[in-house]
């Protein structure tokens, strides 16, 4: 039952999974390059926020609170990674 949202929004989540897969692959190939990892994390975080806006805009559920939520989760991800890379 918790997978219902994934089934309903197959295309959207496929796009996100593709982005995530690409980022993980890039990271695995650059484990010894902290600067590249940090920059790619920021790019992935921005793409994540854009994905959130795109996904919610499609269903006309987009609000500033939702945008802020994606922004905060993205910032949290960057903060977690940056503590180890910087």
């Amino acid at each position: 039952m918790i997978f219902r949202d994934l089934r309903v929004n197959k295309l959207d989540y496929s796009v996100l999974a593709l982005l995530a897969g690409g980022f993980v692959t890039f990271s695995l190939l650059n484990t010894n390059h902290p600067y590249q990892l940090f920059v790619s994390t920021i790019i992935f975080a921005i793409l994540y926020v854009l994905w959130g806006v795109w996904h919610h805009a499609q269903s006309h559920h987009l609000t500033w609170r939702i945008v802020l939520e994606y922004l905060l989760v993205a910032v949290l991800g960057v903060v977690i990674v940056s503590t180890l890379l910087i």
Binding site: L6, Y13, V24, L76, L84
Partner: protein
Amino acid sequence: MFARIFHTFKHQFTPHHTNNFRARSLHNSGIFYIIGILLSFNLLVRTLDSTAYHILGFTSSVTIDEVVKNTNTERISAGLSTLKYSETLADAARRKADNMFTEDYWAHSSPAGISPWHWFTEAGYSYLHAGENLAKDFGSTDRMMKAWMNSPTHRDNIINSQYSETGIAVVPGILQGQETVLVVQLFGTPSVSTPAVPVVEPNTRGISTTPIIAQIDDSPVAVEPIPTPEPAMIDGSTNSSLLQFDEFSLKQGVSIVTTILLLLTLILDLTLAESHKLSRRVGKNWAHIIFINVILILVTIVQAGRIL
């Protein structure tokens, strides 16, 4: 007391009427607090590390004999002969490491333009082939060897059939403002006769691509590896202190725990919201789960050390 703890748990981690049917820690304010806590923790760790008391000292268990052992294990796996430990090469490696600390650089060549091969000559090692691998900030030999073996250029040095000897220096110190343990591994093939004049400069990764013809010199002394007496640790305190943590491991541990807790909260919130058929206008938990999972993977694979 227990009722209060249970209520707080429910409020923070499960959708409930008291938190507008969304786990409080997943509210924007909750995520904001988590960011603040993480930043404060990071600041605290850095402050503790930079105080005169040095509560958080960098520790490393990298030892010379382990590096030699692991290098030879890799060579045997590749069907090559083992490397002999050369005290002359080890002396060159120590000179290089000392120069890196003195001149404060993290590179194969010094800011003054001194190449790695200068240290071979200065130590009295005349070579036909030479190579250099560098590493810093690694807590263990295994992690460091893994990082070298994952890098094609460093791997080429380790399993290069042209080398017959190796020399290693494991030196603690402060490099570019940070406490570290620097590892310099030099590879070489001693010239039986004559002058060591580099024909071609080695590439920036420290791997000599071309043989180097050298002048007559004392042949390098091959000796058994000298074990490092104690794991390297740099700060003013003793090895036995219970307050000794590896700063990177501490940060990594906190990062992993934070992401796992967040993932569990998202899954619990999603499961309960679905089972109660709650309709909420919030961000998608599944999207957050995917994003945080990716961050977790990154946090797990990030290396403490650097190689060059």
